[in-house]
């Protein structure tokens, strides 16, 4: 491992104290003079034509300043896939039709929340109800009700990947199996419900403070839906209480806040309730996955044919990306010499599914990993050995898709097997106990440009000052994952400064450099980190030039920034303080400030991502054979995220991933009836609590990713995948129940055990 002075250290986060004390300002904490409160009127029916909306009584209510419906706003559809306009299927407020319970029909802004609520009740909407479809089978059936007129078969996205010769692969296999898996929707359940506050300035330009992962995307889509120019919209991201993929699109309340602020001349704020979030919020895609795999007798993988249907809900949202990615994840982890994928995204009359931590991987890898275990058992090979035999390694190529530049997968499996004493425990456990394995690979950001940005994917501006400090400006969005701290660490390391020497301004589209695609796809550390390094290198070039001239030495030295000084490499006797060298640069140019810009956009990195993370996880469970309840006793993880920039941050990602994985595996699901979500609070939406967290041990595998900043790659999402398959495999080991239909409820375990006896 390279020697670093700040990278790789447990640098405390600059926001931790403020958040722990409650003094951090989130969007809903903000109040502006004359501010109005807004709320959305949502459809109570799952599928209907809007015959008439009468807002007269609501408008007449004293205190009401604005009531808008789909009739009042520009008819502009939006969606993140700007390059493919036919995927953009959503209006900010419903036009003619509603497609799910919670679909946005109208919005009210008034002087206080009570008046808003009263006004909402006064809006009269006449619906002509239509037959609804609530699952994949009903949606794709011949003659099913059509949800969007442009899309008669309800399949809005088709995606295919194929390489090798799939038929030949199966023909040459000794063992072929086919399985169908179903996975459920789960909620992001971020602690901060969505909130947006808009204000209009003297020139009619808009400033929007919003709880978002993607300030730049919101800026662009808000401009198009308001029919304004991009630069007339300023989006600022205050502290954000988590996103997990649920805050990466333009949303109705962001539009309405801006539109109504413009209309009334007063600031307007919308904040969703937890019930709204659960009833209508984005969620992870439920999927049905048919997977056929072929092996040689010795366990060599020959072929995989994967067919997935995503239950997309009423709109595309980030469904096209999820459809694309789950096919790529199906080809990851193991070397499939022949591979075929067909993904279809189906509309249903339910709240739209969208991006959620793992973005197609938790679903796709659940099927992959469980099927590996099924095959291992049939072939009489230890599941660990079957994985080692087929594991991807550095340099492996997925034709036309990606080349894996660094890969610590085998090392991860070996480490986690050792940590958990797998070979012994697999044989020696008490009745009711089980141990199981799950693995993952994940992307480090996307190389694709469906958003069709005209800017670099990430950018940074570094301003150096003669007092020895620097100011970093970046549009990268800290949504709680800690990238403000990580960006500062990278810059401090590169410039030989301390954390306290660096001031950061981030995620403000009017003041930070264009652009950044946002906090999603585990892209920020690599992409924004590379942009920061690019800017820092340009600063250094100028500093080194100035110092060389100043030293006027008779030989040419390599220079370095170290310990707050600039110096010829390893010659601290000739060191000059950083700030003094900045002053030299400025003096040479009549005081012009020392500023540099850095950019990063991946090049020649295939179709998916510049770098992949890998890892393996083992779970130990204890199943109560009378109640079917699963108690997870221990998790062991070994993973490869390249250079660990902030160990505490990485461990935080792991703990959060295990918590989400536990819920995905065991307890979380939306209880739905005819398109209506019935469990709309944390009492009945069974997200695990701190009390449910098992002990956890982790090993970071030491790899160096050549494309990453200082060798780093992703750790934010990949870890969201292995927990469910590991627990599922452990439950099978304990009870004989092999779950192909998440979540693993006590009831399913008991039924399976009854059938076995």
């Amino acid at each position: 491992m390279e020697q670093f002075s700040i990278v790789g250290k447990d640098v405390p986060r600059n926001d931790a104290v403020a958040k722990a004390r409650g003094s951090a300002i989130y969007t809903d904490d903000m109040k502006l003079p004359g501010m109005l409160f807004g709320q959305i009127l949502r459809s109570p029916v799952a599928h209907a034509r809007i015959i008439k909306i009468d807002t007269g009584k609501a408008e007449a209510l004293p205190g009401v300043k604005s009531v808008i419906t789909g009739k009042d706003i520009p008819k502009v559809k939006y969606g993140n896939w700007r390059l493919f306009a036919d995927t953009q299927d959503e209006y900010a407020l419903a036009v003619d039709k509603v497609r799910f319970i919670g679909d946005e029909v109208a919005a009210v802004a008034a002087i206080d929340r009570e008046t808003v609520r009263e006004a909402l009740e006064l809006i009269e909407v006449e619906y002509e109800e239509l037959e609804g479809v609530y699952d994949i089978d009903a949606s794709i059936k011949e003659g099913a009700p059509v949800i969007h007129d442009y899309c008669p078969g309800n399949i809005s996205v088709n995606r295919k990947i194929e390489y090798g010769d799939i038929e030949k692969g199966f023909a040459e296999s000794d063992y072929v199996r086919e399985d169908t898996f179903k996975v459920q929707a789960v909620s992001h359940a971020y602690l901060e419900p969505c909130s947006a506050l808009a204000q209009v300035d003297l020139d009619g330009r808009i400033t929007l403070w919003t709880s978002t992962q993607v300030p730049y995307i919101v800026q662009c889509l808000l401009a198009s839906t308001l029919e304004m120019r991009e630069n007339d919209i300023r989006v600022v991201k205050p502290f954000v209480g988590g996103g997990f993929g649920g805050k990466m699109e333009l949303r109705t309340w962001e539009f309405c806040a801006a539109f109504m602020a413009k209309q009334t001349g007063r600031p307007v704020k919308f904040t969703l309730s937890r019930e709204e979030e659960f009833l209508t919020g984005r969620r992870r895609h439920p999927m049905t996955l048919h997977s056929k795999v072929g092996f040689k007798k010795d366990g060599s993988l020959m072929a995989k044919d994967l067919r997935i249907i995503l239950d997309g809900g009423a709109y595309n949202a980030m469904g096209p990306t999820a459809t694309f990615l789950c096919g790529n994840f199906g080809a990851m982890l193991y070397r499939y010499p022949n591979y075929r994928f067909h993904g279809r995204h189906a509309y249903t009359n339910k709240p739209p599914a969208s991006a959620m931590r793992g973005f197609g991987a938790p679903q796709s890898l659940y099927a992959s990993e469980i099927q590996m275990n099924l095959a291992a058992e049939a072939l009489g090979i230890d599941p660990v050995d079957l994985r080692l035999k087929n594991a991807q390694v550095s340099g492996d190529e997925i034709p036309d898709v990606a080349t894996i530049s660094s890969c610590g997968f085998i090392e991860s499996i070996e480490a986690v097997v050792k940590m958990s004493d797998w070979k012994r425990l697999r044989k020696e456990l008490k009745p009711g106990q089980g141990i199981g394995i799950g693995c993952y690979s994940f992307i480090t950001g996307g190389v694709f440009n469906w958003f069709n940005t005209q800017y670099p994917f990430s950018a940074a501006e570094v301003r150096a000052f003669s007092d020895g400090t620097v100011h970093l400006l970046t549009m990268a969005s800290d949504i709680g994952q800690g990238c403000d701290t990580v960006m500062k660490q990278i810059l401090a390391e590169e410039l030989g400064l301390q954390m306290e020497d660096i001031r950061i301004t981030s995620a403000d589209t009017a003041t930070t450099p264009q652009a950044d695609l946002g906090a999603w796809g585990s892209r920020v550390t690599l992409m924004a980190g590379n942009a920061v390094i690019d800017a820092a290198k340009k600063i250094k070039e100028k500093l080194f030039g100035a110092l060389s001239a100043f030293l006027n030495a008779n030989v040419i030295y390599e220079m370095e920034c170290k310990n707050g000084m600039v110096q010829p490499k390893n010659r601290s006797k000739k060191a000059v303080p950083f700030g003094d060298v900045v002053a030299m640069v400025q003096k040479a140019k009549r005081g012009e400030p020392l500023i540099a810009h850095g950019y990063y956009t991946p090049r020649d990195k295939g179709l998916v991502t510049p770098a992949f993370g890998f890892g393996a996880q083992i779970a130990l469970v204890d199943v109560d054979r009378e109640t079917g309840k699963v108690d997870v006793k221990q998790m062991w993880t070994a993973h490869d995220c390249g250079t660990v920039i902030n160990p505490k941050g990485v461990e935080g990602q792991l703990a959060g991933s295990i918590q989400m994985g536990l819920g995905y595996a065991l307890s979380e699901q939306f209880v739905m009836q005819d398109g209506k979500t019935l469990n709309t609070n944390f009492l009945d939406y069974k997200m695990p609590t701190a009390m449910d967290m098992p002990p956890s041990a982790v090993t970071h595998i030491d790899t160096y990713e050549p494309e990453g900043p200082m060798g780093a790659k992703e750790c934010g999402e990949g870890l969201a995948s292995p927990t469910a398959p590991a627990i599922s495999d452990a439950v099978y080991h304990a009870t004989g129940y092999r779950c192909k239909d998440l979540p693993i409820t006590p009831e399913k375990i008991l039924k399976s055990m009854e059938n076995d006896t």
Binding site: S273, T627, L678, D684, T689, M691, D692, T745, E747
Partner: protein, 291 residues
Amino acid sequence: MTLPKFEYFAPESLEEAQQLLLNKAEGAHLLAGGTDLLVKMNHGLLKPASLIALKHIKGLEEITFDPKNGLKIGATALLANVAAHPDILEHYPAVAAAARETANVQIRNMGTVAGNLCNAAPSADNAPTLLAMNAEVLISGAKGERRLPLDQFFKGPGANALDSDEILSAILVPAPDSDSGVSYQHISARGKVDISAVCVGVMVRMEGDICRDVRIFLGAVAPVPMRAVKTEATVLNQQLTEEIIEKAGIAALDESQPITDVRSSADYRKKMVAVLTRRALTEARDRALNS
């Protein structure tokens, strides 16, 4: 969420509270910990014109025990304090366990056992044990004070036996016989910190290995916490063997009347009634034999 407007009163004596309740009549609601009430108000399910807080009444939070009269839990005694009270831990371990396993730390630090009973949810964690132990409630009203056996207190989901002028001032639990044992068992979808999908409270009095007295109450499987009369009959005057306990589990399953809702299916609830009844009987028996 915003609370609707209401008047707030903080009387310092039970008499004063009583008077307020009479004066304010229908629109008034008593407030103890507020952990159920304020949630309902936040969601617009209840719109009381006035709230009468009980927490400022001195002495109402007291917990007292003496071997003759048993345990008295004041109306505003916190769940957290009941769970940690040394006398309750020693003489009423199942009462402490039920309080300790109600909701989460924050709720236990605000909420009360009496409030848990008055809220009258079929799933109330504190009801089955207290019912099994022959608890009574002390009620003060315009016409004076009355004692009501707890098993006559629950009238339906969210409905209790209090008249509009009455206040539940304390819970009274007799001192347990030295040869008796009590157990509380519950299960829910989440591992810990959850509302119970099924709960069971059992008290047995043993004479050697023969069960001479038994009370079994099942929660969340009927509109009110229900007494499992047929189940009691299967164990009364029997040796509490594994076989009898197994039979009792089946009897409880048969006589429970659960529904399917967002928290569980009726089928799973029935199975769990059997399991939890077995476990509660076993633990109660063992506690009786070891006491």
